[in-house]
């Protein structure tokens, strides 16, 4: 991250939300994953997205990033559509989403965070590599820059992904389970990093699976189970009652309806054939 050419260090408590979601519905094939979601995520905060498996947590990130098609609704990033705000947004995909035996080094992966600014034909040069090395340093991975990525532990791989996001120098970060399956050292490193990002006025929206640490790590929370259950400051929103509504009674009318919709497609196909 280059401190003087940054878009990120703006005052934290602007009136404008970092992410605004309106009437968002996403389906995979025919199975609805998110239904009529409205949410507004404040800038300059660490926001956890929490919910049971299949609640649509990752899908929410991907829909915001335009990685999965939206059936209805819109998502705005700092007041404008994502397509116009890409350079303000960084993304940390799930670690398992890539092949770690790919022939590339840790430094090289971090350099990919700078591709957005490089355009199509320019190649990363000495300056880009220096920036990437500085980002690796920030996650405590400076010694591993030249290491082939399959030779890193899971936690180290996660830190490489975070360093790549740092290289993006974004105002808003979407992170998909950054704490999943990492060692204690990495967990501490990520936590420190999140706090630094917040202190710099940046916003982090992270899918998080560990209910024990939500209150310790984040200050805002979005409780999700296909629809929005609750969203707001951890202190007032992360309550037993809301958790019960998020996790308890999996077979709500909504999920039954979703199951019914999923079943319908094969029947229709049988009739046709």
């Amino acid at each position: 991250m280059n401190p003087d050419a940054t878009a990120g260090a703006l005052p934290a408590d602007g009136a404008e939300p970092a992410v605004e979601i309106h009437d968002l519905t996403v389906t995979y094939r025919t199975k609805p994953v998110l239904w009529d979601l409205d949410a507004s995520l404040p800038a300059g905060h660490l926001v956890a997205i929490v919910g049971p498996n299949g609640a649509g947590k990752s899908t929410l990130l991907k829909a915001a990033l335009g990685l999965v098609p939206r059936n209805t609704g819109w998502v705005k990033i700092f007041g404008r559509p994502y397509e116009k705000q890409r350079r303000l947004v960084g993304y940390v995909p799930q670690r398992e989403s890539v092949d770690w035996d790919f022939p590339t080094s840790a430094l090289d992966v971090v350099t990919m965070g700078l591709y957005g600014g490089l355009g199509w034909l320019r190649r990363p040069g000495r300056r880009e590599r220096a920036t990437a090395a500085a980002c690796l340093e920030k996650v405590g991975m400076a010694d591993f820059a030249g290491r082939q990525i399959s030779q890193l532990s899971g936690g180290q791989q996660q830190r490489v992904f975070l360093a790549r996001a740092l290289a993006q120098d974004a105002r808003l970060y979407f992170m998909d389970e950054p704490f999943a399956g990492v060692d204690a050292t990495t967990e501490r490193a990520i936590l420190e990093l999140l706090q630094t990002l917040r202190a710099e006025g940046r916003t982090v929206v992270a899918v998080h699976h560990d209910l024990q640490t939500v209150a310790g790590y984040f200050d805002h929370v979005v409780l999700l189970n296909m629809r929005l259950v609750a969203a707001g400051p951890v202190a007032t929103t992360f309550t037993d009652e809301n958790l019960q509504r998020t996790y308890g009674g999996r077979l709500t009318v909504l999920s039954q309806a979703a199951e019914a919709l999923t079943r319908q497609k094969p029947f229709a196909r049988d009739r046709a054939s």
């Binding site: 991907k62 990033l65 335009g66 990685l67 397509e83 890409r86 947004v89 993304y91 995909p93 989403s97 890539v98 092949d99 790919f102 022939p103 590339t104 080094s105 090289d108 992966v109 990919m112 591709y115 957005g116 490089l118 199509w120 034909l121 190649r123 990363p124 082939q148 790549r164 094969p266 196909r269």
Partner: protein, 422 residues
Amino acid sequence: MSLALRNVLLGASLLGMLGGVLGSFALLRRQSLLSDSVAHASLPGVVLAFVLTGSKDPLALLLGALAAGVAGALFILLVTRQSRIREDSAFGIVLSVFFGVGIVLLTWVQRSPGGNQTGLDRFLFGQAATLMASDLRLMALFGVPALLLVFLLFKEFKLLSFDRGFAASLGRPVRALEMLLTALLVLVVVLGLQTVGIILMVATLVAPAAAARQWTDDLALMVPLAGLIGGVSGAVGALASHVLPQMPTGPAIVLVATAAFVLSLLAAPRRGLVGELLRRRGVSLRIRRENLLKDLYSEGEAAGGGRVAVPLARLLARRDMPRRCLRRALRSLTGAGLVERTPLGLRLSPAGEVAAAGVVRKHRLWETYLSRFLELDGDHVHRDAEDMEHVLGDDEVAALEERLGHPTVDPHGEPIPPRGAP
């Protein structure tokens, strides 16, 4: 060199290069089977193009191949998107159905009057000897721009192949890039049909790329290396087919490329099997050496301390170890001056005693750690320590000792030798 031979060599090496370069991306994106299906799917296109135009014009035949290949690829896409049939089944269906139809058409054409003069069967196994200047021009016309495109868009293709979601989040048109990469792959397959043949085309894509992957962990080296291996395989294979009568070019090229792959699989420094075997042998030798040192040390302890001579038979009785391995480990120890041969048996040298005390130290510290922190009983900890004594490094031992508060006896009451002491 005759003009014909020059054509063959140039064509085959350009093709091998293209195969290596695009095959690298196909390999990493797990598209090897796709290219095989496309190659097989192109046969009916070749035959139909011949029937429709009545000519053997290479451009017409290749366009036919291209059309059928693309149809096959689209069919795979459609089937996997719209039905519950998995991708591998779709590959199998397209490959066999299209190829089957192609063979039926080919048989029919060849049985018709004058049909056996068509030479269409060269598309099955490839016949580089039939490459003419016009074929070569066609290859260069499409092949060189394809290579240039990969060079220019290398960074984008790398990003796409490694992390598609991240590429999309940066606003890269991943669909279009994927289609471009697949189109280039199909192009190479079609260009190679005449030289290598439908049946073995996939090997010119996979073998050089897989060979190159063995030698490097950097895509920017792997791709040109695969191109080089492919190009050389192409040239050597074409030459072999030129020199040996009746030898079709495709199999010759594939054999050379496969030889390069097998060699890489065995000999590559880090990923190679030979290196792996040597490393493993090195580790087992080290473990046997450390075990012997420890055994000699405990014999000394049992005798009231100091270095004692132990007969070979007694050492053999202590451990279930083949005599051959024991001798090898002992030779290594005496060679290093850690063990001395005496008339009464084997004895630790002063340096050997220090080394042995180090191993025993690790073993007993680990036993202490297990029983104290994991609260395991004394009789549970020995086997585990047998492994850990060979694994722990000096830093870990120091940290362990710190954590345990520098203990002097292990859970069995045996003394833990202090650092560096015999």
